[in-house]
C-alpha cells in the first residue's frame, strides 16, 4: 500500500531518524498495552522517501531499547536532537458554552452532541459554532476534526470511547481475537440506519473495506488510520465480521474505537458520490435534517436510536473562522457551543451571564514542521537554531495567556513513549545566530505557512514564531496565512514536493496515538 505524507506520516518519518524499526511502534502504539514489542511495520512506508540526511548515524551508538515504550522514548530523544520540528505547545481546548446546556469538553476535541443535555427550554435546540464546515458528508472521505464533528453525530463506529478515552462497545457488542491477524466483531442486533435499513454484518465488512481497499468505491484518506488492517469479511452463519490485519496486530480493537465509521452498503452503492456527500444514512443519535454546504448542517434527534434517544431535539452546526465572530455569536445567544475561544476573549465569555468557558487540555500538539529535503532546513544546525530562536515560554504566556503547555516532543505526558528527560529548547538567540552561521545559511529568508483560525490563536503563534526568527540578525522570516484545507491538502497529498518548506499544523493524539490534522 501507499501512504500519505500526512502529519502522522511525517511523525513516522522523523522517527526514522532514530532508526527504521521504531516507526512501527508509533504506528501501532495503543492505549491498552505496554509490553508489546512489535517488530514489523503495519503501516508500511513503501512510497516514502527513506533517505534522510542523518537518519542512519545517530541511533547506532545507543543500545537497542528492549520495549516499545523504549523505542518511542529513544525516538523522541533523537528527534529532539535532530530537531526536524519545533514543538510549540500542547493546545488546550477552550470552548465557550451557553448556560442553556449542560456539556463537558472531551480531550479528543470531538463534540459529542449526544452528551449534551438541555439546562433550560432553549437548550433543547443546540447550535455549535466551529471554525470550519465539513468537506462533504461522506464519513469515510475526509480526515479532519471539523468534518468529524459533523458527520460523527450521525454515523457510528464499531467501538467508541468515553470522555476519558476508555473503550466502549458501540455497533459491535463484543469482540475477540480469533487468531493472529484476525479479530472477530459481533454486530449488534436491532440497529437500523436512518433510512430504515437494518444494520447487517455486510454493511460493516463493506465499510471497513471501503476504507482500506482503494478498489472498493473510493480511495479513502482514512486508509492509514486503520493501518495494518487488510480487509474484513462476514462470518458465515454468525452475526459477526472478521477483520484481517497484517501479522500480529494487538491494537485493532482500539483502532476501531477511534476510526472506521460504519455506512449502509446498499445506500452507498445506490448513490452517487455527490449525493453521499450531501446526505447521511447512519445509525447515530442524530438524523440529518438540512444540509447547506459550507454554511450549516441541521440534525434532528433520532427517535429510533438503538440507545436512549438524545436529550436535545435538534442540533445545528455552523462555522465562523474568525474567533471574535464565534464569541459574539455565543454572547448574543446565537450559539450554544463555540470552539477555540481565544485567551483574550475568555474573560468576556466568563463574565457574561449566559455563558461560561469549558476548557480541557487537549491531546493536540501544535508544531512547526521543517522539510528536511530543502534548503535551509536540510541543515540540522539550522533546525536547532530555529528551536533556540523561539521563546516558547513567552508565547505560551502572552500569545496563549497560559492556555497551553510547552512541549518538547510529540508524545504527551502520560502516553506511551513520553520521554521525561526532554526539555524544550531554551530561548537563546545568540546560540541560534551562531548555529545559523554554522549551518551556512546566514541571510536566508524563510516563510512559515499557517492555517487561519483552525487552532487556538494559530496565526498569532505563527507570527510570533516568525517574529522571533526574524529578530535574528541573519534570518528573515515571514508568515503566509493559508486556508486550512488547502494547507492540510498540500501536506497530506502524498507528495513531499508539494508541501510548504515550513508550516504550522497541530496533531491530535487520540488515545491510540494516531494523528489527525
Amino acid at each position: 500500500m501507499s501512504d500519505k505524507d500526512s502529519p502522522d506520516v511525517s511523525q513516522r518519518k522523523f522517527l526514522g531518524f532514530a532508526g527504521a524499526a521504531t516507526a512501527t511502534a508509533v504506528a501501532g502504539c495503543g492505549g491498552n498495552g505496554g509490553t508489546d514489542t512489535a517488530t514489523d511495520q503495519p503501516g508500511g512506508d513503501t512510497d516514502e522517501p527513506t533517505d534522510t540526511p542523518t537518519g542512519d548515524d545517530t541511533p547506532t551508538e545507543r543500545p537497542e531499547p528492549e520495549t516499545r515504550d523504549g523505542y518511542l522514548q529513544r525516538a523522541n530523544r533523537v528527534a529532539h536532537e535532530q530537531a526536524p520540528w519545533v514543538f510549540l505547545n500542547r493546545q488546550y481546548s477552550v470552548y465557550g458554552k451557553s448556560a442553556d446546556i449542560e456539556w463537558q469538553a472531551r480531550a479528543d476535541e470531538f463534540i459529542d452532541a449526544y452528551a449534551i443535555s438541555p439546562a433550560t427550554d432553549s437548550g433543547d435546540d443546540v447550535v455549535i459554532n466551529q471554525s470550519q464546515m465539513d468537506s462533504g458528508l461522506d464519513p469515510q472521505d475526509h480526515r479532519a476534526t471539523p468534518t468529524d464533528n459533523i458527520v460523527m453525530q450521525a454515523y457510528e463506529k464499531l467501538l467508541d470511547r468515553d470522555r476519558e478515552g476508555a473503550i466502549l462497545t458501540s455497533l459491535a457488542e463484543d469482540y475477540s481475537r480469533q487468531e493472529d491477524g484476525v479479530v472477530r466483531f459481533h454486530i449488534r442486533d436491532g440497529v437500523s440506519f436512518h433510512s430504515g435499513d437494518n444494520l447487517t454484518p455486510e454493511d460493516v465488512a463493506y465499510s471497513i473495506n471501503r476504507i482500506v481497499d482503494p478498489d472498493t468505491g473510493i480511495a479513502s484518506p482514512q486508509q492509514d488510520q486503520l493501518a495494518g488492517v487488510t480487509g474484513a469479511e462476514v462470518v458465515d452463519g454468525e452475526r459477526a465480521v472478521d477483520v484481517m490485519s497484517d501479522g500480529l496486530n494487538p491494537i485493532v480493537f482500539s483502532l476501531f474505537a477511534s476510526y472506521g465509521p460504519i455506512v449502509n452498503k446498499s445506500w452507498i452503492q445506490a448513490n452517487e458520490n455527490a449525493y453521499i456527500n450531501q446526505n447521511i444514512d447512519g445509525t447515530g443519535p442524530f438524523v440529518l435534517e438540512t444540509y447547506e454546504q459550507g454554511v450549516e448542517v441541521v440534525f434532528n434527534r433520532n427517535d429510533n436510536y438503538w440507545k436512549e434517544a438524545a436529550d436535545i431535539s435538534s442540533l445545528t452546526i455552523t462555522s465562523a473562522s474568525e474567533s471574535s465572530t464565534r464569541v459574539n455569536s455565543l454572547l448574543s445567544d446565537e450559539a450554544d457551543i463555540i470552539v477555540n475561544v481565544p485567551p483574550q476573549e475568555v474573560s468576556r465569555v466568563e463574565e457574561n451571564d449566559g455563558s461560561s468557558i469549558a476548557a480541557t487540555p487537549s491531546t493536540r500538539v501544535i508544531f512547526n514542521a521543517m522539510r528536511y529535503d530543502v534548503e535551509p532546513f536540510d541543515s540540522p544546525e539550522f533546525r536547532q537554531a530555529v528551536n533556540y530562536a523561539i521563546d516558547l515560554e513567552s508565547i505560551v504566556q502572552n500569545v496563549l495567556s497560559t492556555f497551553g503547555d510547552q512541549t518538547a516532543q510529540p508524545t504527551l505526558d502520560g502516553f506511551f513513549g513520553f520521554n521525561g528527560d526532554l526539555d524544550p529548547y531554551p530561548y537563546d538567540p545568540e546560540q541560534a545566530e551562531a548555529l545559523v552561521e554554522e549551518s551556512g545559511y546566514a541571510g536566508v529568508e524563510v516563510e512559515l505557512h499557517t492555517p487561519v483560525g483552525r487552532y487556538l490563536n494559530d496565526v498569532e503563534i505563527a507570527q510570533a514564531v516568525a517574529g522571533y526568527l526574524d529578530d535574528l540578525e541573519n534570518v528573515t522570516a515571514s508568515v503566509n496565512q493559508r486556508d486550512f484545507q488547502a494547507l492540510a491538502g498540500e501536506v497530506t497529498d502524498g507528495d513531499i514536493e508539494t508541501s510548504p518548506h515550513w508550516y504550522l499544523l497541530g496533531w491530535g493524539t487520540r488515545p491510540s496515538t494516531r494523528v489527525r490534522p
Binding site: 462533504g136 461522506d138 480511495a219 452517487e272 465572530t325 459574539n328 455569536s329 454572547l331 448574543s332 446565537e334
Partner: protein, 332 residues
C-alpha cells in the same frame, strides 16, 4: 431605431460579452500554475489512475476540443462537480446566489432610497447645513473600507447593544414567504422580522459606499441640471419647484447616475464578497473565497461565470432603463 431593436442589439452584444466572460474563465485555468489532475486525483493515485482521470476530465484532448467541450457543457448547464465535496457546481453556486442577490438588492435599495433624496436636498440647499452634512457623509462614505465599517458596526450594534445578530443568515427572503404562506401571518411577520434583523448590518455595510457615491453623483448632477436653460424655461412657465426638481432636473440627473451605477455594479459585487466574509453571509463571495483557497476549480469557474453573466444581464437592464429615460440613446 426603435426601442425594441435597440434592446435586441444590446442583447446580442450581451451574448458576445458573456461568451467572452466564459472564455476568459477557460483561459484563466490554463494560465494558472498547477495541474487539474492534482486537485482531482486521490492522494495516492497511481500514474495509470492519473492518466485515467486526465482522460475523464478531457485534459488529454487538444485545447480547442477541450474548449468546445467546455462551452457545450456550459450550454447544457453542466459546470462540473466540486473537487472537495463532489457536489454539482451549478447546484452549489445557484444555491448561494439568492443570498448574494438579496444582499445586493437590499443594499441597493438602501443606497438608492437614501442617496437620491440626500443628493437632491444637498443640491437644492447648497451651502446650508444639510448640504454640508450630506457632502461630509458622502466623502467619508466613499473613503471608508466596508470591511472596517462592518467590523465597527458589529462591535457597536451587535456586541455592545445587541440590536442585530453578529453574523450569518437565518433564511432567505423566499423561505420567509414560504413560512408566511404555510404558518400564517404571525409566523410570517416574525420570519420577515428575523430576515430583516440578519440582513440589516450587511446591507448597510455594503450600501454605505453606494449611498455615498450616488449622493455625490446626484448632487453634482442636480447642480448641473438646475443650471441648465431648460430649468429656467420650465420655471418661467410657472411649474411648481418640486415638479421642476423631480420630474425635470432629477430625471436628467438620473441618466448619468444610472450609467455609473451599472458600471459600479462590479464594485457592488466585489464589496459583497468582502461583506459576506465579514458577516459570514453564505453567498457567492464566501463560496468564491473558499473555492480559491481550496483550488476547487469547478466551483471557482462556476462562480466566476455566474458573476460575470449576472453583471452582463444587469447591465442590459440598466441599458434598457437608460434608453427609456433618455430617448436620445436609442437614436444614437
Amino acid at each position: 431605431m426603435s426601442y425594441g431593436r435597440f434592446l435586441l442589439k444590446r442583447g446580442l452584444q450581451g451574448v458576445v460579452v458573456v461568451w467572452g466572460v466564459v472564455s476568459i474563465v477557460f483561459v484563466l485555468r490554463f494560465i494558472t500554475p498547477g495541474n487539474a489532475v492534482d486537485a482531482v486525483a486521490p492522494l495516492d493515485a497511481s500514474p495509470e489512475l492519473r492518466e485515467r482521470i486526465a482522460a475523464e476530465l478531457g485534459l488529454d484532448q487538444p485545447l480547442y476540443v477541450q474548449y468546445l467541450d467546455y462551452l457545450w457543457e456550459l450550454l447544457n448547464g453542466d459546470m462540473g462537480y466540486s473537487y472537495i465535496s463532489g457536489i454539482e457546481a451549478s447546484q452549489m453556486v445557484f444555491s448561494k446566489l439568492p443570498a448574494t442577490i438579496e444582499l445586493a438588492v437590499a443594499s441597493s435599495i438602501i443606497a438608492i432610497g437614501l442617496s437620491i433624496p440626500l443628493g437632491v436636498i444637498s443640491a437644492t440647499r447648497r451651502h446650508e447645513p444639510a448640504d454640508y452634512a450630506a457632502t461630509t457623509f458622502s466623502l467619508v462614505g466613499i473613503s471608508t473600507p466596508n470591511f472596517w465599517l462592518g467590523i465597527m458596526l458589529i462591535l457597536l450594534l451587535s456586541v455592545q447593544f445587541g440590536i442585530f445578530p453578529t453574523s450569518g443568515r437565518a433564511f432567505g427572503f423566499i423561505e420567509a414567504f414560504r413560512i408566511a404562506a404555510n404558518q400564517g401571518v404571525g409566523a410570517g411577520v416574525d420570519a420577515f422580522y428575523q430576515w430583516l434583523r440578519f440582513i440589516t448590518l450587511p446591507a448597510v455595510t455594503l450600501g454605505t459606499y453606494f449611498t455615498a457615491l450616488i449622493t455625490r453623483l446626484t448632487r453634482s448632477g442636480m447642480l448641473e441640471e438646475l443650471g441648465q436653460s431648460y430649468v429656467r424655461a420650465t420655471r418661467a412657465k410657472g411649474l411648481p419647484e418640486s415638479l421642476i426638481r423631480y420630474k425635470h432636473a432629477l430625471r436628467n440627473t438620473l441618466i448619468p447616475v444610472i450609467t455609473v451605477l451599472g458600471l459600479q455594479l462590479g464594485t457592488l459585487i466585489g464589496g459583497a464578497v468582502i461583506t459576506e466574509s465579514v458577516f459570514s453571509w453564505p453567498g457567492l463571495g464566501t463560496t468564491l473565497i473558499n473555492a480559491i483557497n481550496t483550488r476547487d476549480w469547478p466551483i471557482l469557474q462556476a462562480t466566476l461565470v455566474v458573476i460575470g453573466t449576472g453583471f452582463v444581464i444587469v447591465n442590459l437592464v440598466v441599458d434598457a432603463v437608460y434608453a427609456y429615460l433618455d430617448p436620445q440613446v436609442v437614436a444614437e
